[in-house]
């Protein structure tokens, strides 16, 4: 059943506007030169931080469709009745979300880096940092999606919850501190499985 859930969520993610967060990411990256000006050295210096801010804001877009549609349609109830643990549901959804979100983001980071006049070495560093950080970012998005599912103004609330928790990813990712970025990402991923599972359980009452 877990592979069926992963496959279904990947299909739905790719078919249901996976490009939107990526377009948003590129749009934010493209806006920075307009705000800062054409100074290539300055853009190159702030490039990693700007790309990470773009990644965080892009990660917010899909939050409302990660859990809520399945809660509202009774799919989460049926998965439980089919013997799937809530932790397995959360893990499957995190993995599927990462697969539909991260590779496209890594590809979009290439034109994003060009827009910000970043050199090849900086591009490699930001790609590695995104590779290490996106599991944590995807996990955080899913946990927040589960916590806010069914609540009024869930989208706004998700932003308020997600961004503060993503600060360590932003700090270590923008600084290129890969071991620390990976550690934070791993911590968030491990914790998000249990947080999201508890939220799914609570939503049944």
């Amino acid at each position: 059943m877990i592979t069926a859930v992963i496959g279904r969520d990947i299909r739905r993610g790719l078919g249901g506007g996976a490009w939107l967060p990526i377009a948003f990411f590129l749009l934010v990256a493209a806006l920075v030169p307009f705000a800062i000006g054409p100074d290539a050295r300055l853009l190159s210096r702030i490039g990693p931080g700007a790309l990470w801010i773009a990644a965080l804001t892009a990660a917010l877009l899909p939050v409302e469709r990660l859990i809520e549609p399945d809660r509202a349609s009774g799919t989460l109830d049926q998965l439980f009745l089919h013997g799937m643990a809530d932790e397995s549901i959360a893990f499957a959804k995190i993995l599927a979300h990462w697969i539909t979100f991260a590779p496209l983001l890594l590809i979009a980071a290439i034109p994003g880096a060009v827009l910000l006049s970043m050199d090849g070495q900086s591009l490699v560093k930001i790609e590695l940092a995104l590779l290490a950080g996106t599991p944590g970012l995807a996990s955080l998005a899913l946990a927040i999606g589960a916590l806010t599912a069914g609540l009024p103004r869930a989208g706004s609330l998700a932003g308020l919850l997600l961004l503060p928790f993503a600060v360590p990813l932003l700090v270590f990712g923008a600084a290129g501190a890969l071991p620390l970025e990976a550690a934070v990402s791993l911590f968030l991923t491990a914790g998000a499985v249990f947080v999201a599972a508890a939220a799914i359980r609570a939503s049944r009452t």
């Binding site: 349609s73 049926q78 049944r204």
Partner: protein, 182 residues
């Protein structure tokens, strides 16, 4: 051997005690209708039986079960057959039994409410579970749908299954009735 057993069960929701001291048992071949006015706790009893709610007091034992309630739990973008195959591999017979075989390739989002109800029931028909939990199964069904549901429930009971249905309408056939008070 009971497929579902409640022992001294009490359920409270939103601070309101819906029922208490409830004992019931469903054995193979049994059919129990839970009736009562709106808000008496029929749907909550079904969710409690399914394990989706926890009892405030008492003990619930259940075997493998299939649930059909107001929630369709089918992917709206997929054709009916593929949407049902997410839950069970072999669904063709269940689709035919529900009288929606001609809709097998129609996306779920295009089904009428009555057809969607039949699709939800087809998910239960396709399940190997012995215990069926149905919440308002007659809602939205036409006369043909009611006949088909009645026939499927009868066959299920003859095969050793049991059915618990929450309904404010009388269920077709011989049913024990549990009346909940508002």
């Amino acid at each position: 051997m009971s497929l579902l057993r409640f022992e001294d069960v009490a359920l409270r929701r939103g601070g309101r005690l819906l029922f208490e001291n409830l004992d019931l048992a469903l054995r193979p071949g049994d059919a129990l209708q839970v009736s009562g006015p709106n808000g008496s706790g029929k749907s909550s009893l079904v969710r409690l039986a399914a394990g989706l709610l926890g009892a405030e007091r008492g003990h619930v034992d259940r075997s493998d079960l299939a649930l059909a309630d107001d929630n369709l739990a089918l992917d709206r973008e997929l054709p009916l057959r593929r949407a049902l195959q997410f839950w069970e591999a072999d669904v063709d017979q269940a689709i035919d039994s529900a009288g929606i075989g001609h809709l097998a390739n129609v996306p779920i989002r295009l089904l009428s409410s009555g057809q969607a109800k039949r699709a939800a029931l087809a998910r239960v028909f396709a399940s190997p579970a012995q215990l069926w939990l149905l919440d308002e199964p007659l809602n939205g069904l036409d006369a043909d749908g009611e006949t088909r549901l009645s026939s499927m429930m009868e066959q299920h009971r003859k095969r050793g299954g049991a059915v618990l249905a929450a309904s404010h309408q009388p269920m077709p056939g011989n049913w024990r009735v549990l009346e909940l008070k508002a």
